[in-house]
């Protein structure tokens, strides 16, 4: 007797995998910077709803990264998250400090950083969660390579704060997400607020003390149908020296990188003590969870709030594709134009 039926017609629904698994970790930092390495995941360590993940990569430009994360009860009302990061980037871009730095000042330096953070999570959903955080961070700039000119060739030694000095900080504070959305991955209506407040205390006397914050608001509204959405985003981020610290290290200033990158500009193009960013984006359904995007963005950095002026804002416009991966991350491909030309980016950012 033969049979039919117990054959895979569709992918079988998978339960949460348990145990040790090894996969490849790919880091894409640009067209010429692709990193690869192993990623080891231990699901169920140390308890049933926990996951330990260790990954490392080494890129074509000699960037080295190691990341360790452990989540315990992440989707429970109270949970714990541990993170450790090591990043060795030999060609980090630096253009100077301020909103008016010329693009011709582009230089590279090596930034080696390591950090560890523990977070106590209150709230089962990452979109509605308060986190009490505490951690340690060490950063130090050095002579860069894999690119020219080097920072010290453009900015003479001593012209930048902490140009050749590493700093160590203890950080503590609170972060939180407060969202009311119809869909975490692809919201069509709702609001989402994010707050990050951290206080940094220098480990040694010579290390600076400062406050670090980020306030972000997102809003979504459908355009006559859920498949067409207007999305708005506003970010105010900054670092403020405290405790008699006169200036902050140039590498600890707020910079236009990652989720704070200005559309149409290279990463790390601007940095200063404060940053304002506003974006309006029109999204429309292209295929399943892939959305087309058309965007307009204004961004600016300044040493203090009073220095922001509408006239100095950096604009960029463009479009691309967005794929909502999880409630916390979206894969985005964008092509944007600004006064400095066209930039194409592929990023995996926080949910927006």
């Amino acid at each position: 007797m033969g049979h039919y039926g117990n054959r895979v017609m569709n992918p079988a629904p998978k339960g949460a995998a348990k145990g040790l698994s090894v996969a490849a970790a790919i880091d894409v930092g640009g067209v010429t910077e692709v990193g690869a390495g192993p990623a080891i995941t231990w699901a169920g360590f140390p308890s049933g709803d926990s996951k330990l993940r260790l990954s490392g990569s080494w890129s074509t430009t000699d960037r080295r990264r190691v990341r360790l994360s452990e989540r315990i009860g992440d989707r429970r009302p109270v949970g714990l998250r541990l993170r450790g990061d090591y990043d060795y980037k030999p060609n980090l871009r630096f253009y100077g400090i301020g909103n008016e730095t010329p693009s011709a000042n582009r230089s590279v330096f090596l930034l080696e950083s390591a950090s560890g953070e523990a977070a106590l999570l209150f709230g089962a959903s990452p979109l509605r969660q308060l986190r009490l955080v505490g951690g340690y961070s060490v950063m130090g700039p050095r002579r860069g390579y894999q690119g020219t000119p080097r920072l010290e060739d453009v900015f003479p030694p001593g012209s930048l704060p902490y140009q050749d000095r590493a700093t160590q900080e203890l950080l503590y504070g609170a972060t939180g997400d407060f969202a009311a959305l119809d869909d975490g991955r692809d919201p069509t209506i709702g609001v989402h607020g994010r707050v990050e407040l951290r206080r940094a205390a220098g480990v040694r006397d010579r290390d600076p003390d400062f406050n670090q914050w980020l306030v972000e608001g997102r809003a979504y509204a459908p355009v006559f149908a859920k498949r067409r959405v207007i999305a708005l985003r506003a970010v105010y981020a900054g670092v403020d020296p405290t405790g008699g610290t006169p200036t902050l290290p140039f590498y600890r200033l707020v910079q236009t990188d990652g989720p704070l990158r200005f559309a149409g500009y290279p990463s790390h193009r601007f940095r200063d003590q404060q940053l304002l960013l506003g974006r309006i984006e029109y999204r429309w359904e292209v295929w399943h969870r892939i959305r087309g995007t058309a965007l307009y963005e204004l961004g600016e950095v300044a040493p203090q709030a009073s220095a922001f002026t509408a006239r100095a804002a950096r604009w960029g416009y463009g479009g691309g594709l967005r794929y909502g991966l999880t409630d916390e991350a979206a894969l985005r491909f964008e092509v944007a134009n600004s006064v400095e030309g066209i930039q194409a980016t592929l990023t995996m950012r926080s949910g927006f």
Partner: protein
């Protein structure tokens, strides 16, 4: 001299161009036959019978005893990638194919016609297909009973294995008679959604001519089931507890009398070889002599799927089994499985609204949506598919357009479908009467009377749309026979009431020895008096068309045998 040279050059160029255009046209026009091995069906067979028609090619002898072929089936993910992404892209960028499209103005066919068609443009009976309803109407009583015998799994049931794979919840059982069944539960809150769809679809698909497995809608209570002792203990590696069973049942639908709603599939007889490919022959099966993309019944299946909205048709919804005789020789049978993803259903609930209207990766719609900034309006958005009936799901007939039906992945055989194949499929669909449709729907015994009414009404509307659409592309003139010196035929559109009585244009080419003559006739009814044609003619070629219709003509060939004529070849949209 120079003008003459120029004219010669122009003539040579013109001849070269004509040759270049004519060659592919000739090649493409030629009947694209996959050569059958010795002993295979002969398309040239002219077996004269009393009815005046050639009946020599009604059986495709592909059930001859052969050794068991090796188990094989196409890779699931390979198939998905190929049909969803690789093939559509390669076809989109097939520039020579696009250039040959222009050759259509010269009368060339850019697509190969199906190869397993007999002289009457029909698919002969085979291990894939049996001519049923469109040849001889299946009795309404048979349709009301469904395609199977009345065997149902007798209680109590013993759970032997958990169901592996697939989206629906279920388990394997051995019934009180020792028969093995696979039980699939209807999704929670949707009693009879899958079971009903499977029953109705199987009844229609079987009556259309395809082989289907033996499934039965069943009702059971928890007290009817017990778990096999070995399975409870995990003695053979597989562990299934009462808690697992409770968890499974919690995903199932409950009927008004408190019983669970499900359907049970009897294990097919024979050795399972795996799914066939809709593209290529089965390795090791010497009876499988046609490339599957060139089989009429696989191409024309598109139209049947569009009728019942079976959007999930793919290689892995077919299954081949080898039924061996005592001497270990046997033959391969081909079954169409899991037609339960039809009408408004899918395994775990009502189907998604886009299914049936778009493929999973539909590059055309993706591009249209992208460039129109989300203002493209897909047909499925305009269709009011939500029936509001839990046992029906999402199904409609208002927006349904027969030529735009889409399966989840494009299928190789469907992609190769020609108008002649589609006409054949439409002929089968149109052969179902309202009473037959009602009987087939009745076989599911829907508890909710709205479900039966809704399905019957929509199936009738979809059938009529299919008939209008494909009969508008190919003249539905068929079933030619000779009766007392008259060539008679059926106008299927008239037969089923889609068109009133109408006339027909006929171009007659008669052959008498080396002489050929042409004649134009107009018929006022579906018959033609052959006695009015030249007396010495030994062969006739007729091209029948419907005046004022854009539908493709039908070509009919007749040969004289003694005082009588016989029909020797029929081709639609030829």
């Amino acid at each position: 001299m120079r003008p003459r040279g120029r004219s010669r050059a122009a003539l040579a160029l013109a001849l070269s161009c004509a040759l270049l255009l004519a060659l592919p046209a000739r090649v493409l026009c030629s009947p694209a036959e996959d050569h059958a091995p010795a002993g295979g069906p002969s398309h040239a067979a002219h077996d004269t019978s009393d009815s005046g028609v050639d009946n020599g090619t009604w059986v495709d002898h592909d059930g001859r005893p052969i050794p068991q072929p090796p188990d094989w089936e196409p890779s699931f993910w390979g198939h998905q990638f190929r049909e969803a992404i690789s093939e559509p892209l390669s076809h989109a960028f097939d520039i020579p194919d696009k250039m040959l499209f222009l050759a259509r103005v010269l009368g060339a066919h850019t697509r190969r016609e199906a190869v397993n068609v007999n002289v009457f443009d029909e698919a002969p009976n085979s291990t894939w297909f049996t001519n049923r309803n469109h040849m001889r109407a299946v009795p309404v009583a048979d349709l009301a009973r469904g395609p199977d015998s009345l065997a149902v799994p007798t209680k109590p049931w013993v759970v032997k294995h958990a169901k592996q794979g697939g989206a629906s919840a279920g388990f394997q059982i051995k019934d009180a008679d020792g028969k093995k069944w696979l039980v699939k539960l209807d999704p929670r809150d949707h009693p009879q959604l899958s079971a009903g769809a499977d029953m109705v679809a199987r009844t229609l698909v079987h009556a259309a001519g395809y082989n289907v497995p033996h499934n039965e809608p069943v009702r059971f209570r928890k007290s009817d089931i017990k778990i096999d002792e070995d399975l409870l203990r995990g003695a053979k590696g597989e562990h299934f507890t009462q808690a697992d069973l409770d968890s499974l049942l919690s995903r199932g639908a409950v009927l008004s009398d408190g019983t669970y709603s499900a359907f049970a599939s009897l294990f097919l007889p024979g050795h399972v070889l795996g799914s066939p490919s809709m593209r290529r022959r089965r390795p090791g099966d010497s009876n499988d002599w046609y490339r599957h993309t060139n089989r009429r019944e696989l191409r024309g299946l598109y139209v049947l799927c569009s009728w019942i909205d079976d959007w999930d048709t793919k290689d892995h919804q077919f299954l081949d089994t080898f039924l061996a005789r005592p001497d270990s020789l046997g033959h391969v049978d081909h079954y169409l499985l899991d037609v339960g993803s039809s009408f408004g259903a899918q395994a775990n609930g009502p189907k998604a609204l886009w299914q049936g209207y778009e493929s999973t990766v539909d590059f055309g719609w993706i591009a249209r949506r992208f460039v129109m900034f989300g203002f493209a309006i897909e047909p499925w958005r305009q269709a009011h598919e939500n029936s509001g009936i839990p046992s029906v799901g999402n199904f409609e007939s208002e927006v349904f357009y027969p030529g735009h039906f889409a399966t989840e992945q494009q299928q190789a055989a469907f992609r190769e479908m020609t108008d002649a194949d589609a006409y054949w499929g439409a002929k089968i669909v149109a052969s179902f009467s309202n009473a037959q449709i009602a009987a087939a729907v009745g076989s599911a015994h829907y508890e909710d009377p709205r479900a039966s009414e809704f399905l019957v009404r929509n199936l009738i509307q979809r059938r009529d749309k299919i008939a209008r659409y494909w009969f508008g592309r190919v003249a539905p003139l068929d079933f030619f026979w000779i009766d007392d010196g008259m060539l008679r035929f059926h106008d299927l559109a008239v037969d089923i009431g889609l068109a009133g009585a109408r006339g027909y244009d006929v171009e007659v080419e008669s052959e008498s020895g080396r002489d050929r003559s042409h004649k134009r006739l107009t018929l006022t009814t579906a018959k033609m008096d052959l006695r009015t044609l030249p007396g010495g003619a030994t062969r006739l070629e007729l091209q029948l068309s419907i005046p004022g219709s854009g539908s493709g003509p039908v070509r009919v060939e007749l040969s004289r045998t003694g005082p009588d004529w016989i029909v020797t070849r029929v081709r639609h949209a030829g």
